[in-house]
Amino acid sequence: MTKKLNLSDISYSFSKYMYIVSIVLVFLVFTIMSPQFLSLYSLQNLALETAPMLLMSCGISFVIFTGGIDLGTGSIASCTCVITGLYVSQVGNSIILLMLVVGCVMGVINGILVSKLKLPSFIVTLCTTNFWNFVALRLSPSGSQIIPLNKRSMVNWATKDVIGFPVIFWIALAITALLYFIQQYTVFGKTILSVGANTRATRMAGVDTDKAQIAAFVICDACCALAGAFYAYKLKSAVPTVGLDLNLLSIAAVALGGASMVGGRGSVLHTLVGVITITAVTSGLEIIGCNALWKDIIIGMILILAVCLNSDSKGRDLIIK
């Protein structure tokens, strides 16, 4: 059986090795950079910056793997950031667990609306986004509120360095590893990609696709909620606008990792590479003195490029709307 080389073959290979393209991009960015970039101090900063983003991107990966999208990740993070910032001084560190639970509940709501009511995920998440935005802005209507200095001791542990890197970073890394384990080695993880590749066939094969979709949203929203809490710890304040950019960045990270935007293909580890790439690009832009206003534009263009290269329509001739 001779295989003809055509465009879809090329783009399939591209997408398989997309994450390598991303790593190359990172190295490129580094070489343009001044060598100070690689000093331990800036790497530590980078790690601190990356940690919440990493959580969010890995979380949203699961939803994208199932073929959906979550446009509310930024709002969830904003919401939990505000709640954490405002109440950590009273409730203590257990607020992190509370936020996790809140995230799970959000995920269940989103998941049920998408799977049982068969609503398109972008509409559902846009709707629920409004709600989380509302909560965030209601609780902190006059902008950021810092955690009072006398209560700082409660939150300082998160940004302290352990083995050279902040605690938050290690936690984020650990959760990423856990998510990778879930994706690669558990029943649920295996079915997630299947659901994204062909929901109908997966259902006919006797897999509970509804449960899989709900679980994907639960993971995504729980991670985002956690990321929001981490932001509060990192910024030591309740910031209701922290999530504004995050959605774009996390989706771009997933795309740069070679995942298909319509589901069925991707890996958490590759998303990790995507996150590193995105962070490197954004930090790099800062260092070379690029106008901060170009950040969104460039990330947006990178996203489009990544999705174009990833576009794998072979074996899928559904109508794209």
Partner: protein
């Protein structure tokens, strides 16, 4: 409902059941068709009862004025939703158009004074952006939600770049005269908006292009087999949507005399809700200019009423979210084989 079917089933043949079901579906369809009008009447009654001066000319004009911008947006968005796609770049394009036009006309930040040529330039530029979005969607086979989302972020970025974080204040006399002028007490802005809507509606109903949009949304395969250039139609639709978003952005700028990216914020979602409530379908093939008009009217009355009742403006968005979920659930269609996930 199921009980009714079971009762009927006991005494009939399969063929009879089938015809019964078809009749039942037709009846439901009729109800769905008149629901928006009924909703409008209900909403109007609610508003009228909380507001003594509801049916005065002054209040009606006010309502029309508030409808203006959403109506313009709804033109392009109606076309896109009829295809079964979505355009998440509207807010970005609006913000960009408003900012760029503020930059080009007489303003307090720089010495530009392009006047009407500035406006024309912005319109052409945004339409080209829309066409580019369409090309990406069609040729690179990227789902509309992701490509328009990315373009939207990019356009918002360009908007902020244009005014360099310092919103531009417009002092163009043309804008002044448009925003202050009125005819029969109806502001020019409202008249312009309604005119744009009318043009969009006429194109949708009376041209082959407009019908092709319906056809593609309903049955893309059959439309392709009929020899219609589906790709070209889609590209045109996205170009048109960007054009109307641009016009809406320019009107916003005229109204507020300021150029900044937030001209577009929170503008798209209410219009999507309005179109769906008016009878449009998220999956394509259903809806139209008239339905969108009813939807926007319902939304405007609701927004007004909520403000009157003193409801938190942020909570308004939450309510809209709930409404759209209910509306889409009620009009749910099975057996749809699209990629909308």
């Amino acid at each position: 409902m199921k009980k009714k079917l079971v009762e009927y089933m006991g005494s009939s043949t399969v063929a009879q059941q089938f015809t019964y079901k078809v009749k039942l579906d037709a009846k439901n369809e009729k109800i769905r068709r008149y629901a928006p009008l009924i909703l409008l009447i209900v909403m109007t009654i609610i508003c009228a009862s909380s507001q003594k001066s509801f049916f005065t000319w002054g209040n009606i004009v006010n309502l029309m004025y508030q409808m203006s911008i959403p109506l313009v947006i709804s033109v392009g968005l109606t076309y896109v939703l009829l295809l079964g796609s979505i355009d998440l770049s509207i807010e970005g394009v609006m913000g960009f158009a408003g900012s760029l036009v503020a930059y080009l006309v007489l303003n307090r930040t720089n010495s530009n004074n392009f006047g009407i040529w500035g406006i024309i330039f912005v319109i052409i530029l945004c339409t080209l952006v829309g066409a580019f979005t369409g090309v990406l969607h069609v040729k690179a086979r990227i789902a509309s939600f992701i490509v328009t989302y990315a373009i939207g972020c990019i356009m918002t970025g360009f908007a902020v770049l244009v005014y360099n974080s310092n919103p531009i204040q417009v002092s163009e006399p043309l804008f002044d005269s448009i925003s202050r002028g009125s005819f029969l007490q109806i502001p020019y802005i409202t008249l312009i908006s309604f005119l744009i809507f009318l043009i969009g509606a006429v194109i949708l109903k009376y041209t082959a292009f407009g019908r092709a949009v319906y056809a593609i949304g309903d049955n893309e395969v059959a439309t392709r087999s009929a020899g219609i250039n589906v790709d070209l139609v889609k590209i045109k639709v996205f170009a048109l949507c960007a054009c109307t978003a641009c016009l809406a952005g320019i009107l916003q700028c005229v109204r507020l005399k300021i150029g900044q990216s937030s001209l577009g914020t929170d503008q798209m979602f209410p219009v999507v809700t309005a179109i769906v409530v008016g009878g449009g379908s998220l999956y394509g093939g259903k809806g139209g200019a008239f339905q969108s008009f009813i939807g926007v009217l319902i939304y405007t009355e609701l927004a007004n009423w909520l403000t009157l009742m003193g409801v938190d403006p942020y909570f308004k968005e939450v309510i809209l979210g709930l409404i759209i979920i209910i509306a889409v659930t009620l009009t749910i269609e099975r057996n749809r084989q699209t990629i909308s996930k």
